[in-house]
Every structure is written in C-alpha cells, then in structure tokens.
Amino acid sequence: MATVTYSKATRIYAGTERPAVDHLDLEIGDGEFLVLVGPSGCGKSTSLRMLAGLEDVDEGSIYIDSRDVTHLPPKARDIAMVFQNYALYPHMTVYENMAFALKLRKTPKSEIDRRVKEAAALLQLEEYLGRKPKALSGGQRQRVAMGRAIVREPQVFLMDEPLSNLDAKLRVQTRTQIATLQAKLGITTVYVTHDQVEAMTMGHRVAVLLDGVLQQVDTPRELYDKPGNVFVAGFIGSPAMNIKTVPLTEQGAVFAEMIVPLGREQVAAAQANGGDGKITVGFRPEDCDLVGATEGGLPVVVELVEDLGSDANVYGHAALDGGSERFVVRTDRRTMPNMGDTVFVKPRTDHYHAFHAATGQRL
C-alpha cells in the first residue's frame, strides 16, 4: 500500500523540443484508482513508464511513499505492470508466467504455489495453469497478465491500456472486473487509457493530459460537471459538448438571435486578458431542449439522427456569426426529428459552461 507522487516530473526525448511530459505534478493517494487519459501522444503512457522506471526522468522526481524512486531501476520499485499487448512469455505456461517474478525474488516454492493458485482462483484461470499463452483466448491472456501483476503483491499496479485489445463486449465486462478487483485488493493503481468512458467508469479520480501537460485532475463527476478548460470540456463526454466561440455583450453570449445570459463577474473576466469581445460557451447535448419555432431557439438543420434505443442523438448545422457551426443534441426518442428537418435548440440556461475565448480557462 503506497502513495505515488510526481513532482515536476519531466521527460524530453532526444531530438525533440517539446517535452513528452512537462512538469507533471500529481499526487495519488493510498489505494486510489487513478486514470490517466488523453488523446494519443499526450504523454500518458510516458508518464506511466516513468513511474515504472522504463523511461528516464529528465527533470523533477517521482516518489513512491516517501521513497525517491526517480533513478531506481524497475525492479527496485516494487511495482507490477500490465502491458497493452500483455507481454506474456510465450514459451512459459500460465503458471510459469505468473511465478516468474516470484522465482526471481527467490520466494520459497510453497509460497509461490500458494500465491499463484490464489490469483488463478481469483481470475478463474485454474484450469488453464498448464497451458501456454498461444492456447488462450484474448480475454484469458488479459487475465493472465493481470494475474502476473497480482501475485507480486506490489506497492503499485500500473496498467497501460490493458483492455484495448479486447472486443467491445468483453471490454465492458473486464472493465468492471478490474475495478472490483482493485477495490478488493486495495492496491494503489495507475491506469492509462485513451477511452474516456473507461476513465469515467473506473477511476476514483481522472487526470486529463494534453501535449504532456496535465489539464485537470478530479473525480469523474467534477470533471464532467466542471471541466477546467475547453479541452477537458470537449474531451470528456460522448457525444462531445457543443463548444462555440461567440460575441459577448453585457447581457451574455450571443447565439444568433438567442442570448445565453451570463453573470456580471463572468462577463468581466471574459473581457480581461485579451478576451476581445468574445466568449467560448459550451453546453452538453443533453442540456438543451428542442422547442417550438417561436420560442427563441437556435434553428438547426438536422443532418443525422442516431437512434440509441433509450434516446437519440441529433446532429446538425446552424448558421452562426456568418459561418455554419455543428451542433449535437440528445433528445427523447418520441420527439425525434427526421433528417432535413429544422429544429429549434435552446440550451438550459443553468447548464452551460463558459470559458475565456483566448486562454480557454473556465470562468
């Protein structure tokens, strides 16, 4: 059981100017399940590998508990890692795969046997212990990779997109299994994924990265309800939030004929620091209603309707500021429009997110 602390940890690859991970400050509590999420190339895997000791740390430090592990080799860190492609040793049986690390530590045979059998029982792998990885299905291989980490009883679990090679159904299943397992074992876990649904459903807290810079770290609910900047707002949530930069008046943000009212401080903050009379406003697809033509909604021409069974996503374009902007609205199936219809969209005024037009920070 341990905490993990990144303190200004930086990684710069030779021959590149921009750091892959830029002064990352992050504290992960004992027993916490923290998810690192972001688009590809954002530095999430690099951050994880820095913690694993597979990647050098160029500046700053990393601590496990109060121990500085910045320059320790992987084997001195007492961590276990689950790789994206599982990295099972192909010439060893499932049992040998799981026992490998323990053997290297000269754990007594009886102890190894006990731990491997325990982990196998936990993961329903008992009948496969004598098999080689190539005789297992994808899901079973994934479980072996998990088992290999569990038997170590490490201070920290590191998982690098462990579900990305599974099919959709199995992924959802395994997602809950991993979360349950982690809660049961109570081992601090750092989990990397590019899938925001995984991040939101599994993590106690979620850290969003972009271009090597930590954007925001918070609980999934906070992240969803109060995104710290435009990037987080657009990244978290599916379909993505409608984010538009529009002119700003004293009353609020101007959406064509419609005005989204803003507070006095928000208007003031938006005008400071080169706001230039503009403001970025976002509202989630589910936070708006389809209203009648006369009720002051924004006219949107429907281009695509996704019927999800429970509800429907309506995609379309609206004329805004002389350009044409894309909008997504989630609506009840019963009021689902047809393609080519014009609908009138009215955001709920208490559910919008306002950001500074230039800096992208939340107001």
Binding site: L54, A87, L88, Y89, A135, R152
Partner: protein, 320 residues
C-alpha cells in the same frame, strides 16, 4: 495445409487468398507442382544414392561396372568401410582417427561463435549504450572481407604474435600438435561471427520490446533476460545457424588444412579425403565409403534440428 495449432479468434490466418503470397502458396499446392518437386528431388539424390550403392560393392565390381548393375547382379560387402575406418595399411585411410579429429574441431567451432553471437545480438539490440549502432554496422561490414584475405595475417598472428613499433602487444602462441585445435577453433569463430551476429541480431531485435520490459519490471537482470526469455525464443534461429555453421565447418578443407596442418593428430576427415583422392587415385573404392563416413554426422545434425526451421515459437506472445 495440415496444422495442429488451434486457430485463435482475432489472429488472422496468413492464407489470405487475395495477397501475392497467397497466390504463390496456392500454386505451389497443386498436384503438378508436387510432381515436379518430387522429380527434382529424385534427380538430385541419384548421384548420392549411386555413391552409397558403390560403397557397398566389392572392389572388383566397382572398378569394372557401373553402380546400377548392382540391381541385376547384387554383390554386397562391408569390406570398404572396414578398410577406410580401421585398416592398418598406409593406403587404407584410417578414417576413424580423422573422424574423431573432425568432431573435436567442429563442436567448439560451432558452439563458440553461436554463443558469442547470441550475446552480442542481445547487447546490440536491447542494451542501450553509446556507439551501439556503429559497432553493429562495423560488424556487419566485416562480412565483406573474404576469408582468404585473412588467412595470412591470422597465421602470422598465431606464429609471431602482434608487435607494433617494436613493442610486443601479443606474444606468439607457439602451439604444437594437438594444441593446434585451438588455432582452428579461433579461426572458425572469427570467420563465423560477423554473419552470425547479423543473423541473430535480426532475430533478437524483432522480439517484442514489451517482453523485455515486462521481464525488467518482474525484476530480471540483463543476464537473466538473455537466458530465460531471449534464448528460448530464438531457438529456431539458433538451430538453423547451428546447422549452417556445422555443415560449413565439417566440410571445410581450407581453414583446417592451414591452421591444423596435415598431421594425423589434428587433420580432419576432409583433409584425409582429399589426400585419398589425390594420392590413392587408383584405389577409389575406398573413397566411396570414406565419403559416406563423412556424410553421416551432418545428416544426423540436420535431421535432428530441422524441425526448428518450421516452428514459430512466437505465436501467442503478443497480439498483432
């Protein structure tokens, strides 16, 4: 194609009908192709078969009629083999002794380069150090040096050592009699290393990096990773390299003649066979059995290792 490995979901079969490789494979699977390959195989084998039949015929028959007459008037004897292996007369070959020499030369000359090359291949692929790529390019480039160019320098290295500006960097080896085996082992190892490193490096560097990282996280040192992960996974490459190197050393005449000399303490079979052919030209019934004695070991090596050629050990380690 018959295969016993289960087809895994998600792993695409290599037999895609649309690809060029798929088309070639399809064509090679036709009956006509099979017939042609059988004919080629038979034609190729006939001379060796004839040699084998001859080696079992009495001296008089060999010298007067062709080997195919064996089938119309069979006469069978092991006299030739007895003669070349254990005969006491000067002209009889005494191959048993040279056979042992060949074994003594070949086994270390195969094991040394392959062991060194495997370690070098691992280091050049997976240990990060300055100048790694240049060292690899240098080793790779050494392949263009013809073996014959190195004979004289190497011989002088053994007999005179290395001196630079009057300072002896390395004394002469002064090896005599049986010690000359060391020279042959050394020479064969030198000549084999560049290609062996190149071949194994290709193989080792293709292993998935995640495996090495997983092993490092599991707590394995480089030596441990090499022994427990890399070596088992490159067994097919090691086996094919072993076969090539074995055949090369076993059949080698030049290097052995120069570094082991022609004396009966160190000279291998090939040297002796060449002598038999050269100086005992009129008793060539012994050559037939002598050739077969020389073939036996390579055949055994090939048959025992060939299954590694066709076996891919990597299936299932990582998905992709």
């Amino acid at each position: 194609m018959s295969t016993t490995t289960p087809v895994l979901p998600g792993v695409t079969s290599e037999k895609l009908p649309g690809t060029a490789a798929g088309r070639v494979r399809k064509r090679l699977n036709t009956r006509a192709a099979t017939v042609v390959s059988i004919i080629i195989a038979v034609l190729w084998t006939i001379p060796t078969f004839g040699l084998f039949v001859s080696s079992l015929r009495p001296e008089q028959d060999i010298k007067t009629t062709g080997w195919w007459t064996f089938f119309s008037s069979p006469a069978f004897t092991l006299e030739n083999y007895n003669d070349v292996l254990f005969g006491r007369s000067a002209s009889s070959g005494q191959l048993a002794n040279y056979f042992v020499n060949s074994v003594v030369i070949t086994i270390p000359s195969v094991l040394f380069p392959i062991a060194f090359a495997a370690m070098a291949a691992y280091a050049l692929s997976w240990i990060k150090f300055r100048g790694r790529d240049w060292i690899y390019v240098g080793i790779f480039a050494l392949q263009i040096v013809p073996l014959q160019m190195a004979l004289v320098p190497l011989l002088s290295f053994f007999s005179r050592g290395v001196t630079l500006a009057g300072i002896t960097l390395m004394p002469a080896w002064n090896l005599d009699d049986e010690q000359k085996f060391i020279q042959v082992w050394f020479a064969h190892t030198c000549f084999a290393l560049p290609f062996a490193v190149f071949l194994l490096h290709n193989f080792v560097s293709q292993l998935p990096g995640e495996l090495m990282e997983a092993a490092r996280v599991d707590g394995a040192s480089h030596a441990k990773i090499f022994r427990t992960i890399v070596l088992p996974l490159i067994t097919p490459a090691l086996a094919s390299l072993t076969i090539f190197q074995f055949l090369w050393v076993w059949n080698d005449l030049l290097v052995a003649l120069i570094f082991a000399g022609g004396g009966d303490e160190t000279a291998p079979l090939t040297v002796r066979l060449a002598e038999l052919a050269g100086t005992r030209g009129n008793e060539w019934q012994r050559l037939t059995s002598g050739a077969f004695v020389a073939i036996v070991i390579p055949l055994l090596v090939f048959l025992s290792l060939q299954r590694y050629f066709v076996r891919g050990l990597l299936t299932g380690s990582v998905k992709g």
